[in-house]
Symmetry: C2
Subunit: 116 residues, 2 copies
Amino acid sequence: MADNKLQNDCKKKLMAIHDAMYVLSGKWKISIIASLCYHDKRRFSEILNDVSGISNKMLSKELKELEMNKLVKRTVLDTQPVTVEYQLTPYGKSLQTIIDSLTDWGTEHRKVIIGK
Amino acid sequence: MADNKLQNDCKKKLMAIHDAMYVLSGKWKISIIASLCYHDKRRFSEILNDVSGISNKMLSKELKELEMNKLVKRTVLDTQPVTVEYQLTPYGKSLQTIIDSLTDWGTEHRKVIIGK
DNA sequence: CTGGATCCGGATTGATACTG
DNA sequence: CAGTATCAATCCGGATCCAG
């Protein structure tokens, strides 16, 4: 019985991971969200600089997907030339914990790599 | 000055994210790690079941990469027929925090989706 | 039978050029 | 500046094949 309950917990957790990975799927999504996590408002070209290695095509595509999933809000400013601002929605901000733990791990991980 | 410091912090954090994403890159890696996080020892075919949607080809490939990055340990058991066990290394276990926060978020996220 | 490699077609991505 | 368009490279899924 207890075994069964434990197994069910595992399954539920793995399903939760699956759900989370669904919206976060895509090579760059987490990095994009991190950029917006640490900058509040960010323009297209700024994110392009933040996320090292990404191409404008992929940035455009993944931002669009994040917008569809209501994690990111896109605002066109009426300037000349046009500027566009991206920011996390409140819902998107709920990912902050994940980003923080990734940042912490990455910082440690870097030490390990460099230590070699 | 203070502005400069803040900017540097952001850059460092984004670099940390970049480093973390490097080892976690690949469509399935996080789900695989989650499976091993919640099961301690797990066989190839069991992980195949845990990670819904993955093909044996990709599982094989990504496990190999995780092994190369020292996150996962592979053990061949001398049984008939051969069975292979995978488990997280202590280093791999340091990802637990990340997996947990993803699980928590995924659980909430699921509620939001179903609520619609 | 289990763990995994191989081959192929279709989908995703990268590099670069181009547009409003 | 903020994206599209295009073509090449690469990655991925499915089926199949193979060794122990």
